[in-house]
Symmetry: C2
Subunit: 629 residues, 2 copies
């Protein structure tokens, strides 16, 4: 009990043994968040999803009725962490099912694929007007006759080097400038940022330092991907990815916004985003043998909510009619202000969005795929945790968003994982009773399944009659891979050890239902956009799919389940992580930085939540491939 | 004794009774500075000037030989504070003579004179493009159809109001924007800063707030003057002045730079400048019934060293050949960054300088007197602690600086004070034995003498034969006002109570010597400039005198002592505090902000310290009026 009579209690978590002190009446979920424990809560702690089940090992805690807790489990001490009020000291066990997937803790250094390499080459072709350039200068030391001030001498040198304009020099740098210039014998590298309002000197260092690198960051709702990029060559130094630690506060945008609206919530969510980014950057730096101060610029692509939460800007009104963000265009700022763990003075820019639900991640993808510069009618699909779809060409564009959930990124799927080494990314099933053939990312031993693998599997299971039109496993289908897992019907893709698999990999009925909802949301959104514009699928010259599904997306299988329109294979292309490519472009090319601002003005936003036919299309899409089939 | 064996001692100061703990070997001056006690040290603590004499009341302290300490005084415990090492606990008395003048503690709210009023009218005529404008906006609340983000809505409103450009909005404001817009019912005032790189929204507040005020600041070596200015009308709300508390670290620029170069010195000097400004602003706000947050912009004019020290920028190289400052143009910044105690987001701009010894204060004066827009050959004289002189017109300008010392501002003069109410600003002496007639600033009871009064007195004493050509009092002159004060020959201007005088006011031989040095420095600089340009005094169409001498400067008396060239009275004008007027212009007018940058490029700097004839001219000027007379 506290000095002021406020009762506090101790909550000890097992198996970690970590302890939190919380006020009387706080929830077990609050206690876990306070410790940063990776506990699931897909609905963001609203008592809806039932993913945060924990077991009380000692102490008293009132029951929390929920369909996911049977009477027998309730008697054994099972509770929903987000509903269970702490009214005395407790010891609480977090079962594995309620723990966030390992990806959240074990960070992957993602391997660059061959396709990545090609896209990278295209980028290098653009390059040459990066957000930050390093200008080597050899300045004449001052004399009584040539007695310019240090800053004016630097500006003169930059002008002579063709760096243009009168660059600004912030106070922090000005304070160190005299010492740096003299210690380096007047031979320095000036780091010059190309900002919308003109050039700015952000750093001056002794000549001959390593080439400056930048950070391209794709800040997704579920997955965060970072790349270190050589700013002079455009080459990728290293890539790494991690699950967004904010998942502990909800798997979708709405859950996050609600969590951020609670007292202290904004700071908590900002901190979790920065923690995620921090671990990615740490990993990138370790592999590249660089230090934080070597990362001299950053471009961040993210949806509107993610950028609000990252920057500590109130996001509450994004989820309330009329759904208004604080901003769609975020001002460039210093890394220190944004909180990014790179050089404090590094300029950071953000991809602009067009509305609360079609954000900068989508525009970054649109930028990267070049549809705004093309006459062809293009359908751009970003299959992230929010599905965002843009239809149009150089003349016009219309965009919409649909709630797809994080299933394709491996969250909420029993054996799901991100498209990282070891993820099953391709599945082929020769016959109903065949052993599925699989391919994994990087050919590593299978340890989970990612989005493209799930789409393949769903299409193949349907083709072989193992699941029905509603996506449910058919018990009498006669496949030797049918089983029961956690009380649910399941299909086993890989047994542990089979072909060297690191773990058993299966999909349950519940997983399949989630995948069906995801594909239906995308399918319905595409159909609604076509209806709205009076165009037919056949009018689409090019379908560009972006997102974190994995490189191996098979369009034929996606068409088979109805997710994509039935068009000839040649019209489909997988653009990789469009958001990340867009962030790369923003980092490397001034024309790209200018183009994306124009895109933000040109895309018309179609709100599906109030659209008269979207819900109808969605319900009809909850079948494979569709009720119309 | 400290835990690590580092010996510390206690120094108790009398009469205040305040105590400091200092390390063994620190000086008594260090201890006084640590407490912020207003102790004098005109040479900045180099053991030269002898102004920091203190008396040891208890404890042992080794003697500090210096001409100002007679053997008798030494025996009585008198020491130089800046040389006296603390090697044990001490009690130290600070005599009044070693204390900084009262102006340093008692701040004056300076009354605006009639001339001020006229200049102010001229300013108001210019106005209308202030550094910060308040734009009242009535924004349409968002709807599903009109669903722009809050920041984009604000930008659209500003554009519709003709505020031009796409304004930047910093992160701090963006975080509060949604709440402000809604709490105010979408009726707000946007504060828009006009910065060199474009408009910037610095604040948004509910509609109908008070008109925005700005701070014009003249940051002098000796005197700091601030004005609150109504940014919409150009009217002065209030003016206040104070001695620069940095005087404790030296009365001239060189002493300050040396003090700043000691460990912790930069922070100490920055803190003292900010403390001075803080007290001025506090006083201004109290009188105007405003709060710090109401002051929405600032323009600061100061010499190169003062701006370095204010901003915590290393100034050491200003005093070392080849005399190079870190910068002559300081970047605009937020008040929070500059440390100014006004609205944190307020834009702060600085007058640019042209070199280490002709700084932004002079250019501000040149700007204010309009010589850069005139065809007339103008001689501009800023008689501050550094004397700075610019000769030229619209076509060309040449400037130089000379070390005058702070005598005209009242520092180092027994009864000196700044040109504040009660300062004797005019003196007339009908005959050798007459009682001098005086006028004081604001007609308040006399309590000291300011620059213009000293010049009058020196000229009148010379004319009546009471001082000789070397400026020394003539013992046999027969004036009843001759006396001895502090062991020195003195002339008593006012006896205490005479005509209501609040204190006795006199000048000693020592004071007269300092005045002679000051006038000689200015006289020699003017002559050198004329020599350098091959012009004669008669070519000068206009002489503009600026500085803190006081409004009542009598050109005839200044000519009589040789300080000013002998020209018809009609060619002289007193421009008031040019630096302060320039700061006002920068605050109120965009053309002025642009013009001053051009001036900085156009003025040629003439270095007197290396000039072949300056020293010769100086020695010849150490006579009244001159050896040539």
């Amino acid at each position: 009990m506290g000095a002021q009579g406020m009762r506090t209690h101790r909550v000890k978590f097992l198996p970690s043994g970590r302890e939190a002190a919380v006020n009387d009446g706080a929830t077990i979920h609050d206690a876990a968040l306070a410790l940063g424990l990776p506990i699931r809560a897909d609905c963001g702690g609203k008592g809806v999803c039932g993913t945060c089940v924990v077991k009380i090992e000692s102490g008293a805690c009132a029951p929390t009725p929920h369909p996911s807790i049977t009477p027998a489990r309730e008697k054994n001490g099972y509770r929903l962490a987000c509903r269970a009020a702490v009214t005395g000291d407790l010891a609480v066990f977090i079962p594995e099912e309620s723990t966030l997937p390992a990806g959240d803790i074990d960070f992957e250094t993602v391997v660059l694929t061959e396709d990545d390499g090609k896209r990278r080459e295209a980028l290098a072709g653009l390059a040459a007007s990066p957000l930050l350039v390093r200008v080597p200068l050899s300045l004449p030391p001052p004399t009584l006759e040539d007695n310019l001030g240090d800053m004016e001498r630097l500006a003169r040198g930059l002008k002579a080097a063709g760096a243009g304009g009168e660059p600004r020099c912030p106070l922090g740098l000005l304070r160190r400038l005299p010492a740096i210039l003299r210690a380096s014998g007047w031979r320095v590298d000036a780091a010059l940022a190309d900002l919308p309002w003109g050039p700015e000197v952000v750093a001056v260092s002794p000549a001959g330092g390593p080439p400056p690198v930048g950070l391209a960051l794709d800040l997704g709702t579920t997955t965060v991907v970072g790349e270190l990029v050589d700013l002079s060559s455009g080459a990728c130094v290293r890539r790494a990815a991690a699950y967004n630690r904010q998942i502990s506060c909800g798997t979708d945008i709405i859950g996050r916004i609600i969590a951020a609206g609670k007292p202290g919530g904004a700071d908590l969510l900002r901190g979790l985003a920065l923690e995620t980014i921090g671990k990615i950057v740490e990993r990138l730096l370790a592999h590249a043998r660089l230090e934080a101060g070597d990362v001299a610029a950053a471009a961040v692509a993210g949806n509107t909510t993610m950028l609000h939460l990252l920057l500590g800007i109130e996001a509450e009104r994004i989820r309330l009619e009329p759904y208004i963000p604080a901003a769609n265009r975020f001002p460039p700022m210093r890394a220190a202000e944004a909180g990014l763990p790179i050089a404090a003075s590094a300029p950071v820019i953000f991809s602009p969005g067009i509305g609360s639900y079609v954000g900068g991640d989508v525009l970054a993808g649109v930028l990267a795929c070049g549809m705004g510069r093309s006459d062809e009618l293009t359908l751009f699909i970003d299959a992230g945790t929010n599905g965002e779809i843009v239809l149009g060409n150089r003349e016009w564009m219309i965009g919409c968003a649909c709630s797809t959930g994080p299933a394709f990124e491996g969250i909420g799927i029993a054996c799901g994982m991100m498209a990282a080494p070891g993820a099953v990314e391709e599945v082929e099933l020769a016959s109903r009773d065949a052993v599925p053939r699989v391919a994994t990312v990087s050919g590593a031993p299978a340890r989970g399944i990612c989005g493209s693998g799930m789409i393949d599997l769903m299409a193949q299971l349907f083709a072989r009659g193992i699941i029905d039109r509603k996506g449910l496993l058919v018990p009498g289908a006669g496949s030797p891979r049918l089983a029961e897992r956690g009380g649910r019907a399941a299909y086993v893709v890989r047994r542990k050890g089979e072909d060297g698999a690191a773990a058993e990999i299966y999909l349950t009925d519940v997983d399949l239902k989630k995948l069906l909802l995801t594909k239906a949301a995308i399918q319905a959104a595409i159909r609604t956009l076509l209806l709205e514009t009076g165009l037919g699928a056949a009018d689409i010259a090019r379908v560009v799919i972006a997102g974190r599904l994995g490189e191996a997306l098979d369009a034929a299988n996606a068409i088979a389940i109805g997710m994509l329109p039935d068009l000839p294979p040649g019209r489909f292309s997988y653009a990789g992580n469009g958001s990340l490519w867009g962030a790369n472009l923003l980092l490397l090319s001034r024309p790209a930085r200018e183009e994306i601002l124009g895109l933000a003005d040109r895309v018309t936003y179609l709100d599906l939540s109030t659209h008269p036919s979207y819900m109808e299309q969605f319900v009809a899409s909850l079948f494979i491939p569709h009720t119309d089939a």
